[in-house]
């Protein structure tokens, strides 16, 4: 997990040795199969800690499948099978004996559609910490407030904590889902097209939030919106399917370089809109 970028886009912060160790994430020669169908082929990449990595590529190229590999979400699909090594903090997460619940606490996920639980705003955020055994009311209050503040939602909902999580706007619901992830203090946040169901203003708010969070969290985002990848990410991975319909990593590099001077012709064609 070397080759950290010199500076992150958002904070120009230098990475400390601690940052590198905390939440270092990467995959080596990873293949993913759904039954006999290979979705992802021989992917090797290291995710940079405390920065934003965008995964882009045409529909069906394995972006979301690749994202789900990072917190073993594919385990939920019975036919899914994985080969290769996925390392997080120096541990292969697919080793037997890995606590998947603990893993998903450390690697949280935000989905395409905001999916608050049908309960109050407070209970949505407190859900995770409660599951992990925190019962003290004051401690929970503090976690809820802190998480909502980090998610830039506190000011908008502080007076209606008892209201249903489904009663707020789509953009607010998505930030509530981010607060819910933050409440369990993850190290990595995976985002699967988090803005595709949102309007442009709500989208910009989430992007702004991502930039702020990137100083403390490692963020990996799958997006169909290339402009969004260019705007928010420090690193970009471009995936494309081969003739065998399996997704491969075509190019991985600093976002500024990928969008101004990509090395690979296929990347060039895709980001200039000549195919895809």
């Amino acid at each position: 997990m070397n080759n950290m970028p010199k500076v992150a886009k958002t904070f120009n912060r230098q990475y400390t040795e601690n940052d590198r160790k905390r939440g270092s994430l990467g995959m080596k020669n990873v293949n993913l199969f759904y039954g006999s169908f290979q979705a992802v082929k021989e992917i090797t990449l290291d995710i940079h800690t405390c920065s934003i990595t965008a995964i882009i590529g045409p529909s069906g190229c394995g972006k979301s499948s690749m994202l789900r590999i990072f917190n073993r979400m594919n385990d939920l699909i019975p036919s899914a099978r994985i080969e290769g090594k996925v390392e997080f903090g120096g541990i292969d997460i697919y080793e037997p004996g890995v606590d998947v619940v603990e893993l998903r606490k450390r690697i949280g996920m935000v989905f395409q559609k905001p999916n608050p639980f049908p309960m109050s705003i407070y209970d949505n955020v407190a859900f995770g910490p409660r599951r992990h055994g925190i019962r003290n009311r004051f401690a929970l209050d503090e976690i809820v407030e802190k998480s909502l503040m980090q998610a830039a939602l506190w000011d908008e909902v502080k007076d209606k904590m008892g209201q249903s999580g489904l009663s707020i706007s789509g953009g607010q619901q998505q930030r509530l889902c981010i607060a819910r992830v933050l409440a369990v203090e993850p190290e990595v946040i995976l985002m699967d097209e988090p803005c595709s169901a949102l309007d442009p203003i709500a989208t910009l708010k989430i992007e702004d939030l991502m930039s702020t969070l990137a100083s403390n969290y490692t963020i990996v985002i799958v997006t169909h919106n290339m402009q969004q990848a260019a705007r928010v990410s420090d690193m970009t991975a471009f995936l494309m399917v081969d003739d065998d319909h399996a997704g491969r990593l075509v190019e991985y590099g600093e976002t500024a370089e990928i969008f101004t001077n990509p090395n690979n012709k296929k990347t060039e064609d895709y980001i200039t809109g000549r195919f895809g």
Binding site: M226, F259, T260, N261, P262, T267, E268, I271, T272, G273
Partner: protein, 220 residues
């Protein structure tokens, strides 16, 4: 895919060529006006420079519109950014030609210091550099672009020659100082134009490789 966009991008590059040929005429005609003491032609060049300036603004506007509406990326973005720089250089070359036309008017019907040989030669070389420079732009030809930059040396050498010769004439006959100095200015305008063309070639290298490079700085 993106047919309209591709057409617009192509049209934009064609417009740069149109502007290039306007500038090319301006260079050649200004030196003709100087050589043949054609004051009417000189006046036309001064008026014509406004059209060159306008062309630059039109192309810049088109670039801005494409950036705003099409979000160009990678090589497309580099082409547009390069064009934004190239049109500035072309416009400045137009100004240098206008400068030569103004010198032609200033000299007016005063007796010639000497028959003009090297200045028209400088103009021919500069125009050749311009043509090849724009050719390299269309073909994204880095080798040709670098070759054109090397050719700048030839223009510099001619400038040295003009300068030395006029210096001698002035030393021998101080009455020529006024006219000879103006001719040195005219030669200097051409020398600067050739330098501007090397800037254009550097942009061609940027389009092709994505790297900003200073290719062989001019002697002046």
């Amino acid at each position: 895919m993106r047919k309209d966009y591709e057409r617009s991008l192509k049209a934009l590059q064609d417009e740069v060529l149109v502007m290039g040929s306007m500038v090319e005429k301006s260079i050649l005609w200004s030196v003709d006006a100087l050589k043949n003491r054609d004051l009417e032609l000189a006046r036309q060049i001064i008026i014509g420079d406004e059209a060159i300036n306008q062309k630059r603004f039109d192309i810049e506007e088109e670039c801005i519109e494409l950036i705003a509406t099409q979000q160009p990326m990678a090589v497309d973005l580099r082409i547009i950014i390069a064009i934004l720089n190239i049109v500035v250089d072309l416009e400045r070359i137009g100004d240098h030609s206008e400068g030569i036309a103004k010198i032609a008017i200033m000299i007016g019907n005063e007796p010639p210091v000497k028959p003009l040989i090297d200045i028209p030669r400088m103009a021919e070389r500069t125009v050749l550099m311009l043509r090849e420079g724009l050719d390299s732009f269309i073909k994204r030809d880095v080798t040709l672009a670098k070759q054109v930059c090397d050719d700048d040396e030839g223009v510099d050498e001619l400038y040295d020659q003009v300068f030395r010769e006029l210096l001698l004439i002035m030393a021998e006959n101080p009455k020529t100082i006024g006219r000879a100095t103006r001719l040195i200015w005219a030669a200097h305008n051409l020398e600067r134009s050739a330098d501007r063309i090397t800037n254009i070639c550097e942009r061609v290298v940027f389009i092709a490789t994505g790297r900003m490079e200073d290719i062989g700085a001019s002697k002046y």
